[in-house]
């Protein structure tokens, strides 16, 4: 037996201090030998500023991988990419059983199969009162409303007490698809046993002061909009927002329009929703090939790409034809969505392209045509009050969200801590104590390999993008003397410099001058020669075009 006391720990590896790539760990047992469960394995998306050319960003789970033998289970709260997107990529390093509800499970199995992993590691769990026993943990799925079907909070019972992990949620009494928010159920959770020790709580909308609105409030305005549109009606929203797809499709049907879904992700989601039984009585659909033959005023498209993604249906329609259909003057295009910060430029480009086509573009009109999937500040307070946990740890937010949520919690008498990625929190004593700081970070899926955020690969790409790239080739003969002149190749710099000469010539000229005078000490020393060539290239480039490029030198020694 250990002489160390058992403890209950919480460790965010992703999603705490950022919105995206959620990954949380809970542990129970003697220090250093805790049995572990993982909640969510999400991704986040690259941008040109910091991660050009990268395909996906995932949490660095090295800490978990080193302790893979202690992992009892993986739980996935819901099927948004920032909660499930890393499953196919990261599961092979963890190899634990995966638990989730049916709709999420359908998509989890696809994620695993996409990466050649066995789909049968996914176990479908029914909601509370069903319990998954995972080592010292007893876990129940509590249905919550969110912008995707079957999102769940988790009740995690441990010998040290009950933890509620909220997942992503909102309070919606009429969510169109899925279970309504049930305050009695939440009150009951707080009444069982010793009540709630700790609540780990979504912080996304902590800065939204008004109570959140129900998905059901959109039906009427959307129906009116779709009915009054003169030409073709096109609407985009997140593919996974199945309730919104239904509201939109219902509006189309009510207006006598044939409804056509476009975009791979959207079809995949609707199929998963129908297969898992969460979506019933969805209006019948027409295929894009049929749609082309339907008069525009009797047609409604529901398409992917609300965030301006370049390859999605919205962007393709804004550029021209997509699957035989194109936008025309008099059509209406609705963004039944909000722009995620950072995606503004892409979306605005699309709106302007559509404007040039004479299409009327309509945004969410301050919430008339879109509601958020997250609980606003008063809703969060409502949940605090229902669960009245001893400890509140804000999660799923940037630092500013976590801090604001913690301030709110403190003002209401809860013990709180702003716990960001890598901060291991000991919950055992009834108030949060920082136990340890774990090294965390991000890894990138780049093409089909993983690179670390700190490997320098992406840094080199950014530098080439900012500064251009010059390559110098020099051949030295058997005697160590330059064989001919050095060659320069330039990529990403102005062709002609200030002197009026081509930049390449200016660089080569100075390199020749240098080589004519260089003594053998330098010519024989690879490092010194490399330094000298590099310095000359940067100096000439600075003089000629005002930029210091990245430089690669290739020195071939024929005697080598």
């Amino acid at each position: 037996m250990s002489n160390k006391k058992d403890r209950l720990i919480y460790l965010p590896l992703g999603g705490a201090g950022e919105i995206g790539m959620n990954c949380y760990v809970y542990g129970y047992g003697p220090e250093g030998r805790e049995r572990l469960i993982v909640v969510d394995l999400g991704v986040t998306f690259p941008d040109m500023d910091t991660t050009p050319g990268v395909d996906l960003i995932m949490p660095d789970i090295s800490w978990l991988v080193e302790r893979a033998d202690r992992i009892e289970a993986i739980f996935i709260t819901h099927a948004h990419e920032d909660h499930i997107g890393g499953l196919g990529h990261l599961w092979p390093q963890l190899k634990a059983q995966v638990y989730c509800r049916r709709f999420t499970g359908t998509l989890a199995a696809m994620k695993l199969e996409d990466r050649g992993q066995p789909a049968n590691v996914v176990s479908i769990v029914e909601p509370r009162p069903d319990v998954v026993e995972a080592g010292p943990f007893k876990v129940q799925f509590v249905p919550v409303s969110h912008s995707i079907p079957e999102s769940s909070a988790l009740i995690i019972d441990t010998p040290a007490g009950r933890v509620v992990h909220s997942g992503d949620f909102k309070l919606d009494g009429s969510p169109v698809v899925g279970e309504a928010f049930d305050p009695k159920e939440w009150h009951g959770i707080a009444q069982e046993g010793n009540g709630v020790l700790a609540l780990m709580c979504d912080s996304t909308n902590i800065f939204s002061p008004a109570p959140g609105r129900s998905e059901a409030t959109l039906a009427e305005p959307l129906a009116e909009l779709v009915a009054s549109a003169p030409g073709m009606m096109v609407a985009t929203t997140f593919a996974s927002n199945v309730a919104r797809l239904k509201t939109l499709a219902d509006a189309g049907q009510a207006a006598g329009r044939s409804v056509c879904l476009m975009g791979r992700a959207m079809k995949r989601m609707v199929t998963a929703a129908v297969d898992s039984g969460v979506l019933t009585d969805f209006p019948s659909l027409v295929a894009p090939e049929q749609a082309a033959d339907i008069p525009r005023e009797h047609l409604m498209l529901i398409v992917t790409g609300s965030q301006g993604e370049r390859r999605a249906a919205t962007a393709q329609l804004a550029r021209g034809k997509y699957l035989g259909l194109s936008l025309k003057e008099g059509d209406t295009f609705l963004f039944s969505s909000k722009v995620i910060p950072g995606n503004e430029r892409g979306v605005i480009r699309i709106v302007n392209n559509m404007s040039e086509m004479g299409v009327d573009v309509i945004d969410d009109r301050g919430g008339l045509y879109h509601v958020s999937g997250h609980a606003n500040r008063p809703d969060l307070e409502g949940v605090h009050d229902l669960l009245h946990p001893k400890i509140l740890i804000p999660m799923h937010g940037e630092h500013r969200h976590l801090r604001e949520h913690a301030k709110l919690g403190e003002s209401k008498g809860m013990s709180t801590e702003v716990a960001t990625n890598g901060m291991m929190i000991d919950l055992t004593t009834g108030y949060p104590q920082v136990a340890e700081y774990i090294e965390t970070g991000r890894v990138y899926l780049d093409g089909n390999v993983m690179v670390g955020a700190m490997d320098g690969v992406i840094r080199d790409r950014i530098r080439m993008a900012l500064n251009g790239h010059v390559m110098v080739t020099l051949i030295l003969d058997e005697a160590g003397e330059p064989l001919g002149d050095a060659w320069a190749e330039v990529m990403g710099l102005a062709e002609t410099g200030k002197s009026g000469r081509p930049l390449v010539e200016a660089i080569e000229g100075d390199l020749t001058e240098f080589l004519d005078r260089a003594d053998q000490k330098v010519l024989r020393d690879d490092d010194k020669l490399d330094d000298a060539l590099r310095r000359i290239v940067r100096q000439v480039s600075m003089e000629e075009v005002g930029k210091k490029p990245e430089v690669t030198t290739v020195v071939s020694r024929l005697d080598g």
Copy 2:
């Protein structure tokens, strides 16, 4: 004498179909021999998505340069960078006299001097009724309110009629600094002569449905906020928003705080405003060196960098010390500004850094601490109604703004046209007719040289950022046979591929295999050899790391 009739033309070269780099041309005279005036020479700013490493973006003014002998004058409406920022760079190609009001003139002279151009080409013009005669044009400056001092609309009288070029404006009866909006004056402009033929009108805020609010409404809330802040108070806004600087500084003074301005641009603006007489009774300031000795609760900083610019004071404070001062827990940081679309990520990064420091960050709170400098939809209608022009041409807006503004104008009985950059509009007949499409576009200041947007330089940089760059070096001996193996250098790609080998080795291995078997037809033909090497590099890279890099080949022929 010409047998062609005189005509009045309008030609936007920048700013119509985008917000930024404003440049408009008016011409009067026989077709092809019109005398010309230029209104504004602005810039726009690069972003990592489309213009990595670029310093500034300017309109392509080739059309004007080819007709430089026909330019009578350049008018600058106000000193925002998107109206004046190109002056120093583009003036040398135009060399016409520059007319503007005093404050704008002070900054125009600096812009010219910065680029080694003569500052004495700037003529200071007093507002209407003063008139500048420029060939067939008679031009008056009409003071308008905007977020910078001395913004002006232009009345451009021509033999074909009166044109009003609105510049950037809002309707503000109490603008804190500068002249209040005077409806009588505008009514008068419409009453003179034959009234207004055409209004070229700011469209920025056409989508804002409520009437705009006055700068003066900010004084009270700002004073309350500054007075109630417990620690150091720091506020950022656009450096050129001199009225806001005054409101903020007044709030600081009223709260008993010493006020300190930080950031080069801000000092330059205040100096220009004081020198030109637009700014009087500005609170006395302390220098940053003095500020460090003042108790935090008695100090207020007003700093640059509201858009998250990496080198500005705000970003530097968010990273640590700036000029000896740093933020601490309990300080308050106010963004008395709005985020321009595209700058969200940078600003959010700063807010989170400050949150980590324990600083309370406050945004504009839905307009409580910031008002826009542009006229909203009802204000635009007000101006339409005062001037009742025959023709309305929306300008200063993306396509969606121009289109919406044109729709509004049409609904009110004006002749309109969505005239984007390069569309020459003939106004002579009293309704807008597209006369010609001019080739326009953008040029980039990249380091210290100009490159065309279509030159491929920036495209190459973007490709390297997305795909990485591989350089292949091959030496062929006098017999045309490879001398040793080909070398590869890799930049911006994962070091190790799927096979577990270093990527460089994998590439070099396949290149060696190819060269061993390559026949002389290929080896002797530079193009074929280049193609083959390139194809192999891409293929190996795709297999190993899942990316197709940019490839540069250097083949040295010793017999060459």
